[in-house]
Amino acid sequence: NAGVTQTPKFRILKIGQSMTLQCTQDMNHNYMYWYRQDPGMGLKLIYYSVGAGITDKGEVPNGYNVSRSTTEDFPLRLELAAPSQTSVYFCASSRSGTGRTGELFFGEGSRLTVL
């Protein structure tokens, strides 16, 4: 019962470093999402994908990049990390898009601190 798996769970970066947050799902879902969760601010959509090879920007895409080469994997890359990117990042997947009231299945989150 793996569902959505994110790695790493915790990471500390220095300003200007780069890293990739990994996300994989084993439910054969076409739709995948990356959110960030800041205290008192709810979840903000960074990027999403409706299928392999297709990605699109969410509300807060600046400073991030994604790729979707397979149905299972949706990595999120941070280039030139900044303190404003300190947050908890959640990957999610759904069978149908949220436009069809699809249920989102979330990973456990990746807590990133940029110093």
Binding site: G40, G42, L43, F90, T101, L104, E108
Partner: protein
């Protein structure tokens, strides 16, 4: 500007009490979901409501979607420590494929 406002932001009550939390907006939505998130975990879907005025019950939890499709409430009867968590509403504006999340209500049930 926050599209979805949740209130209260924090709520701490004794086991056995009843409570209601709210999710409000000035926008109209085609559907609304409630999620619960426990520390160190991702949110988990509780319910989806799609019809104005709709009421759904999940054991001791009652969810209502406002008649005008702008707001929703979650009522918990006889709260238990296992209800502790962050409750998030998420709504889908008409003509928009992207789900918008509220700021959340952090609920603590004291044994």
């Amino acid at each position: 500007t926050q599209l979805l406002e949740q209130s209260p932001q924090f709520l701490s009550i004794q086991e056995g009490e009843n409570l209601t939390v709210y999710c409000n907006s000035s926008s109209v939505f085609s559907s609304l979901q409630w999620y619960r998130q426990e520390p160190g975990e991702g949110p988990v879907l509780l319910v989806t409501v799609v019809t104005g005025g709709e009421v759904k019950k999940l054991k001791r939890l009652t969810f209502q979607f406002g008649d005008a499709r702008k707001d929703s409430s979650l009522h918990i009867t006889a709260a238990q420590p296992g209800d502790t968590g962050l409750y998030l509403c998420a709504a889908l504006p008409f003509g928009n494929e992207k789900l918008t999340f509220g700021t959340g209500t952090r609920l603590t049930i004291i044994p």
